[in-house]
């Protein structure tokens, strides 16, 4: 059977692989190569070694803190959103698995913002934030903390419903017998939550934490539409910082590409840790 199939590789594999080569493989490896070059398009490259990488931190012999600020700002943003989204999503999921009236409607409502894209979401909230902030003569870009909390609110609104759906699925997978057994042994609902529900949900918690973690790190649309990195690049998350370096200043494409490589390594490390954690959990079960 393998032999019969093999003849048809051009039909089954070639279309996807041709597009995959154009859309991913070639741009990826060529991108790594270009991070060691000075270039303005893909054809006029000149090898300059590691200069792009040193330029991320040092410009004309002086320390440039823009990238470091953005790295720190992104890490803080990610930490805050991971905590809020997971706690809120878990809490709502617990309430929505108790069989209260209207569960389906609530679930529908909470999930809804997730279907609206980042750009649309951000302009909805930009109007609301500025309407509130004008009362104290500020806007969302008056300072980096307005921008920070603005983005946190938008991202929470978008992702809590999504994570809630995954938590609900996880909670529904816990066998009712287990909880019943704990109750017969005299556990109150807090003890059931702490000693049965949460331990049984560990795989779900891992998945949701890492989804929110990578979403936070990779956030772009909301940042661009809500603050545009203002004031003075202080609210730039990493993705927007890379975009700004690449398309904002001519001659800096190489530095932008070098930043992108570092960004990729960061995201890849997070993904590898997640993979390690989820597979080791599977072995335990």
């Amino acid at each position: 059977m393998q032999k019969a199939n093999r003849k048809y590789w051009w039909l089954f594999v070639l279309p996807t692989m041709a597009a995959f080569a154009i859309g991913f493989i070639i741009p990826f490896f060529y991108g790594i190569f270009l991070s060691f070059c000075k270039f303005t398009t893909v054809t006029d490259w000149k090898w300059i070694g590691l200069k792009n990488y040193t330029k991320i931190l040092f410009v004309n012999g002086k320390l440039d803190t823009t990238f470091l600020h953005s790295l720190w700002y992104t890490s803080l943003f990610t930490l805050v959103t991971v905590l809020i989204i997971n706690l809120a999503a878990f809490g709502i999921a617990l309430l929505l698995t108790k069989g209260i009236r209207g569960t389906n409607i609530f679930r529908t409502v909470f999930f809804m913002p997730n279907l609206i894209g980042g750009i649309v979401l951000s302009y909805i909230w930009l109007m609301i934030f500025n309407a509130f902030l004008q009362k104290i003569s500020q806007t969302i870009v008056s300072n980096q903390w307005n921008a920070f909390w603005g983005m946190v609110i938008v991202v929470c609104w978008q992702q809590i419903g999504y994570m809630m759906i995954i938590y609900v699925a996880g909670i529904q997978n816990i066998s009712a017998d287990l909880i019943e057994a704990a109750k017969i042994d005299g556990a109150n609902s807090w003890q059931v939550l702490r000693n049965v529900t949460i331990p049984m949900l560990r795989p779900t918690i891992t998945i949701c934490s890492f989804l929110t973690l990578t979403n936070g790190f990779k956030l772009f649309d909301q940042n661009l539409a809500l603050t545009g990195g203002n004031p003075a690049k202080q609210s730039q998350l990493l993705a927007l910082n890379i975009y700004d370096t690449m398309y904002g200043t001519n001659g800096w494409q190489g530095v932008g590409q070098a930043k992108a490589v570092i960004f990729f390594i960061l995201v890849a490390v997070i993904a590898l840790i997640q993979n390690r954690l989820t597979t080791s959990k599977e072995v335990e079960q």
């Binding site: 059977m1 199939n5 003849k7 089954f12 594999v13 279309p15 996807t16 692989m17 597009a19 995959f20 154009i22 859309g23 991913f24 070639i26 270009l34 893909v42 309430l95 929505l96 108790k98 069989g99 209260i100 009236r101 409607i105 609530f106 529908t108 409502v109 909470f110 809804m112 279907l115 609206i116 894209g117 980042g118 750009i119 649309v120 302009y123 909230w125 109007m127 609301i128 309407a131 999504y162 759906i165 995954i166 699925a169 066998s175 009712a176 019943e180 990779k218 649309d221 661009l224 539409a225 890379i242 975009y243 690449m246 494409q253 590409q257 992108a260 490589v261 960004f263 990729f264 890849a268």
Partner: protein
């Protein structure tokens, strides 16, 4: 038995706190959709009143007399003026057409091509197919920023900067997740079914389309939903790949509504936001079950 008992337990609980919990959740739900409702309300207001009076419906408070309050309502609202402005400014229906064409085209192409690819690389074990699988896994962790410059330049060189060409780019960049999900499913399909089809005289192509693809339907729906949500809302990739002077998708049109003036025409913005949300809500209501199942399946596997 267990289920029946669980139902009893929840029934008991419902009588204890159910009413209160429902009330609390109702309040939170209303707050949850409030931003969309505020945008809807403001989309009918005169531009000047959107920020002067963002949450009210009348420019003078009711305490100043009913007639003035009524008059204030009349001054605040302009009917569909913002909508006609927004549709003209953004050429909304054209953008909607491009968004729809690109999304539907990409989803069909991705589901068709990657399911075939996934079946082949699962059934034919060679070094090459193994490499393809690993590359697909690998592509899932690469952020778009890593390839955005080179990808958009190559797309330009290959004349893919139009709604038809970008579908191929989406197939390429979206292949990783789709191949991964289909491969996971094909592994669970028993080989005997396909062998039986082959013995009955099916060619591999017939076997795939008549036997394997119909079984794959649930995974195909999941992949379609995930890819559709991504493509419809995507901003950065189309803004870099497409020739944006000629072709704008809805997110691009909204972002450019800001940039073309520096300042934002908030009247048109409110209207275009409502127009952008409407089709999503309609789609959500029609396909809610599949969307939620798809999201759960995608998260657990991805």
């Amino acid at each position: 038995m267990a289920n029946k008992h669980a139902a009893e337990v929840s029934a008991v609980r419902r009588s204890k706190h159910g009413g209160l919990l429902t009330l609390i959740m109702t309040v939170i739900s209303i707050l949850w959709v409030a931003p969309v409702l505020i945008v809807l309300l403001n989309s009918f207001k005169r531009k000047a009143f959107i920020f002067r009076n963002p949450f009210g419906i009348s420019s003078s408070p009711i305490s100043q007399g009913f007639a003035r309050w009524q008059n204030g309502i009349r001054r605040t609202f302009v009917g569909f003026l913002n909508y006609s402005n927004a549709i003209k400014k953004t050429t909304f229906f054209r953008c909607f057409g491009y968004s729809l064409f690109i999304t539907v085209g990409s989803v069909i192409l991705i589901v068709l091509c990657t399911s075939m690819c996934a079946w082949y690389i699962t059934r034919v074990k060679t070094k090459a197919t193994r490499t393809i699988y690993i590359l697909c896994l690998f592509s899932m962790i690469v952020p778009f920023q890593m390839v955005m410059f080179t990808l958009s330049k190559f797309a330009n060189i290959l004349h893919l900067s139009n709604p038809l060409g970008i579908i191929i780019v989406y197939l390429g960049f979206g292949a990783g997740l789709a191949v991964f999900m289909f491969t996971g499913f094909v592994k669970s399909v028993p080989l005997e079914i396909e062998e039986a089809a082959m013995i009955d005289g099916c060619t591999p192509v017939q076997t795939f389309f008549l036997v394997v693809f119909p079984i794959m339907k649930p995974t195909a729906i999941t992949v379609s939903i995930l890819e559709a949500m991504w493509v419809w809302n995507d901003y950065l990739l189309p803004s870099l790949v497409l020739n944006v002077n000629k072709y704008k998708t809805i997110p691009i049109a909204i972002q450019y509504l800001k940039q073309s003036h520096g300042q934002i025409d908030w009247g048109a913005m409110m209207a275009v936001l409502v127009l952008a949300i409407l089709p999503i809500i309609v789609f959500y209501i029609l396909a809610q079950k599949y969307i939620i199942e798809g999201v759960v399946a995608g998260a657990v596997k991805g």
